[in-house]
Structure formats: C-alpha cells, structure tokens
C-alpha cells in the first residue's frame, strides 16, 4: 500500500508528537523522517500550523468514528457513555501531545476543516448523551448544555492531569475517579421530569 507523501508527512508528524511532544515537531524533522527535502512539506501544507491541524483533523475523525460505533452498540446507553469517556481518556493517555493538539492548542491557526471535525466529534458525543437521557440515565435537561458540561469535566480532568502541575500529589484526583464521580452525581440528580422521584429536601 503506497502511502502518499502527504499522508506520510502527517504520520511522521504524529509520531514526532508522540515521541517528543509539540516542540519536537519541526517541519524539517518531519521532512527528514519522510526522506524528502526540508521544503517539500510546503507543497502540501501552507505552514507548520497547517500540518499540525491535519494531524488533529485525522485524529478527531477517528474519535468521531469511535463515538459513533459506540452509539450504535447493543450494550446500552450507560455503557456507551462510560466507554466513550474511556476512549477519550485512553487516547489522551497514549498520545498526550496529540490530545492537546485536538482541543487545547493555542497557537494553531484556525483551519476550517479542523473546526468541522471538532464539531462532528462533539455531535457524535452529544448523541450518546441524548441516548442516555432517553434511557433515564442522565437528567433530562438541554442535551447540548449537558454534553457541554460532561465534556468540559472530562476534558478538564484530562488536561489538568496532563499538565502535571501538582502532579499526582494529593492535589488532583485521578482522571477516572473524577469522571466516575461526575457520573455518580449526575445519576442522583433530581430531574424535573416525572421519571424520577424527587425529594425536596427541607433543610435548616
């Protein structure tokens, strides 16, 4: 299977991200790894940022596929949600630098395709959340808002951990613990609908 040069460049960039992080991805190193001249990448990408965006776009597409395959599975909504979170976390653990690229890279020139890919992945995730709501696993509030909250919490837990400030010292709980706590709490939330018995706590 002959990989086109453009694909080779993207793959090489991804490998460099994995092995040395953001800083290791220099256009010249990528070119060297593929075996072309230091300026060949410019035939395929406008600049360094565009190359990195291509990596991000590819990975976002992959994530979206994972989410969608989970959404179509038979093991139930709650399990799909749990596994989606697990997939995201696993990806972040295996490819921290690439994960950062997807969601939190500051100096990546905004590319149209990248935004679309991010949106598509988010929507696939939203569909799983909606499914959970229909099954009564999650409170029936606005699905996009709820997805935003869940996604933010998962991403935040991942990002703080990857950042490594107060590295797993007693400061921050593990990603899994945080996400598990989130799901636990969401399950016991009083939903406005008739589905769940709500208990108006009278206090003090």
């Amino acid at each position: 299977m002959t990989e086109t040069t453009k694909e080779q460049l993207v793959s090489a960039a991804a490998q460099l991200l994995d092995s040395g992080g953001q800083g290791a991805v220099t256009l010249r190193a990528v070119a060297r790894r593929v075996g072309v001249s230091h300026n060949a990448p410019y035939r395929h990408f406008r600049d360094r940022s565009a190359l990195l965006s291509a990596v991000a776009e590819r990975d976002l597409e992959q994530l979206r596929r994972e989410f969608e395959s989970l959404a179509g599975e038979g093991s139930g909504a709650a399990e799909a949600l749990r596994q989606s979170a697990g997939a995201l976390i696993a990806y972040a653990r295996e490819h921290p630098a690439r994960y950062r690229l997807l969601f939190s890279d500051p100096d990546l020139t905004p590319q149209p395709g990248l935004g679309d890919a991010a949106l598509a992945a988010f929507e696939a995730f939203t569909r799983i959340v909606s499914w959970c709501q229909r099954e009564g696993v999650l409170p029936s509030i606005d699905a996009v808002s709820l997805t935003g909250l869940i996604y933010a919490a998962i991403h935040g837990a991942i990002d703080l951990q990857l950042g490594g400030r107060a590295s797993d010292a007693k400061g921050l709980a593990s990603i899994d613990a945080t996400v598990a706590l989130l799901f636990d709490l969401l399950r016991t939330v009083e939903t406005p609908g008739p589905r769940r018995r709500t208990q108006t706590g009278r206090g003090e």
Copy 2:
C-alpha cells in the same frame, strides 16, 4: 519604586503573553523590551521555560490570594464559590495565554516552585468548597474529590472555549452557562446529610 531586572523580565514576558501569545514570548524580545542585551535573561533564568514558569508562579500566587480573600468574606459560602469561579473565568478571559501557562502548558519544564504554587491555589479553592459543604450548599462527599470535579469542569469549560475549536458555534455552551449548570446540578444532588436550598440566581 525601582523594579529589579528580574521582575522587569517577568513583567515583560507577561505583557508579551498578553499581546502575542505563547509564541511571541521569545527570550530576545523580552530582553529587548526591558532594554538589556539578548543574553541578560540567562543571568536570572536557566532557560526560556524557567522564565515562563516564573510568570505562571506569580499569577498562581495572585489567584491563591484572591481565593483566600474570598474564603474570609462575609457574603456566605455559596457566594464565595460563585465568585471564585468568576475570578478564574475573568482571569482566563483577560489573559488567555497566561491562563494556559498556569494549567495546561505542555512543554514547560517542571519547576519545583511552580508545582507548589499550583497546589497552594488548589488548596485555597478546596477550602471554599469545604465551606460550602459545611453550609449544605454542596453535597458532603470527599472534599478533595469534589473540588477536583468542580475545578476540572471549570477548567475544561474555559480551556475548550479558549481553544476555539467549534468556536462558539452551536457546539459548546458558554463558560458561564456550563459553570452555572454545574452548580445548579450539584445543588440538587441527593446528599446524605441535611440540606439547604440556596437560590443564587445568576444574572444573564
């Protein structure tokens, strides 16, 4: 008041972060702005990463002070929590590049002082959460875990917004909306202990 050169360098770096983002902070540009030679910063910081860490440390210290002053205020636990989140969000909005530096910078060599500062800020925030728990505003589960979740959600919401993927297109809700939703949900969680209904109506 005569600022020492070291302080001037940190301030200059912070200004450059604000005006041009991570990429704009070059050691030489910082030196130029202060009016010293391109190698003067090396007399005060081991390398570029150390200079950036100094900025982060300074800002973390400032945040910690804010949290602690809020914790000692008389307007109540719920209000302190709300204002803490607000302070964090405001800081992130005003100084996005610096915010990133604090929590999510990948290629910042781990500095001992930086981790300590991050931990201290986190602990100050934890104290506010504990206060909320004592007042019945937050569910009485393990304070550190709960703080981790709240902090992760806030940070995630901020980070996703700053990242600008799927920029405020319908994809992601606003930071404030996400945080408000989080607090709303947490307030209605079935807690084992006694509870109080607090109506902190957030404006628009």
